[in-house]
Symmetry: C2
Subunit: 172 residues, 2 copies
DNA sequence: CGGATTGAGTTCAATGACGCAACTGAGTAG
DNA sequence: CTACTCAGTTGCGTCATTGAACTCAATCCG
C-alpha cells in the first residue's frame, strides 16, 4: 500500500508534513542550512543511502524547498540550496531542535548551540505570540475554526469541535 | 532493513525526530492537544489504520510523550493525554503549522486559527530569540559547536565545520 | 432476552518504502 | 594508464504501512 497522502487534508500541519514530514527531510534541510550543499557531503554527513537521498532531494526540489543548481560544467557538479520556503522553515526546525535538546539531549551535552547574529547572544529558540511577543505554551493557546476548515480525514472530528468551542472570551 | 535509528546520533534534532519524526505522530499530538483523547476518535479523525495507531501510541507512551490512563473499568476504557514533554512540544508543532499555513495553505484559507489566551489575540506562532525576543530567521542565526558535538553519522561533516567556523564576532 | 452497537484493539495479505552494496559514467590528478 | 571524485542509478532483500476483517467485553434498545 502506498503511504497515505496528507496533501488533500484540510490541515496546514498535515500539508506541511506532506512536504517535509519524512524521516530524513528535516535533517537534510538542517544540513543545507548549516552550509553543506553537495550530494556526497550529505551522504557522508548523515549516513543516508544514496538512492534515498536522490529521492528526497527530488521531492524537496519539486516542492520548492530546495533548488539544485550546477556550480560547474565539465564535469557537471551540483549544489543544493534552500529556497525562500526552505529558509522560512529553519526557525520551525530550530524550535524542534530546542525541544529535542530539552527532552532527548545526549549525556555529553548539547551538540549545537545557536547565536543570534543581530543581537550577538547565544539563545534558545522560543515560540512566541505575534501579538504580545510572550511565549506561547500548550496551556495558553486555544484553537478556533478558520475559513478553510472542513470535516474530512485529517480533521474530521477536530473541525466539528472547533465550530462549537468551549466558551471563548471575546477575541481581539 | 530496519529504518536507520537516529537515537544514537549526537544531534538534538535527530534525537527528537527519533521520538516523533514519523509520518503520523505530529498529527496525533496535535489531535491530543486539540482535545481528542480516545482511540476511536483518533482513528476517525485522522483516518489512520488501527494497527498503526496502536503502534504509534505505544511508542509515544514509551517515549514519555503521551500517557494512557483508564478513565473507567468494566469495560476498560482508556484516554490518551499529552505528558509534560508532549505539551512542551506543542509550540514547535504550532511553528510548523504556521509554516504549512504560509507555504501549503488550502485554497479555502487557513483551517485553524490560534488565540493566545493570556493576551486574547489571534496570533501567528513566531520563533524568537530568548535573549532579545526578536524573531529569528535563517539569515540571522549562526550555529556553533556545543559540548556534546561529535563527528559521527548525523553530524559527521557538520561537527567538523562548526569547530572551525567562519569568523564569529565576540559572542555574548 | 436477543441483537446491535461501542470501545479498543489484533490479525492478515499485499504492496510500497527503506537500507546496503555494487555499479555507471564523466572528468581530473598523478 | 590508473586511481580518484562527484553524482547519481540499479538490484535485491527486509521492513513498515494499509485496509479490511476479526475478537472480545460490556452496554443499550425494544
Amino acid at each position: 500500500m502506498e503511504r497515505t497522502s496528507f496533501a488533500h487534508m484540510r490541515c496546514s500541519l498535515a500539508r506541511g508534513l506532506e512536504l517535509i514530514g519524512d524521516w530524513w527531510s528535516p535533517l537534510i534541510i538542517r544540513d543545507l542550512f548549516l552550509g553543506l550543499s553537495r550530494f556526497d557531503e550529505l551522504v557522508e554527513d548523515l549516513g543516508i543511502s544514496r538512492n534515498l537521498l536522490t529521492r528526497r532531494l527530488k521531492s524537496l526540489a519539486a516542492n520548492g524547498i530546495v533548488e539544485r543548481t550546477a556550480y560547474q560544467q565539465k564535469p557537471a557538479r551540483y549544489a543544493y540550496r534552500l529556497t525562500e520556503a526552505g529558509r522560512d522553515l529553519v526557525p520551525a526546525i530550530l524550535a524542534l531542535t530546542a525541544w529535542g535538546d530539552r527532552w532527548a539531549r545526549p549525556r555529553e551535552g548539547s551538540p549545537i548551540l545557536f547565536v543570534h547574529t543581530t543581537c550577538g547572544h547565544r539563545f534558545e529558540p522560543r515560540v512566541t505570540c505575534s501579538a504580545c511577543t510572550e511565549p506561547v505554551t500548550a496551556e495558553t493557546v486555544t484553537a478556533i475554526a478558520g475559513p478553510g476548515g472542513a470535516a474530512r480525514p485529517g480533521t474530521k472530528l477536530v473541525a466539528r469541535r472547533l465550530h462549537s468551542p468551549a466558551p471563548v472570551a471575546a477575541i481581539k
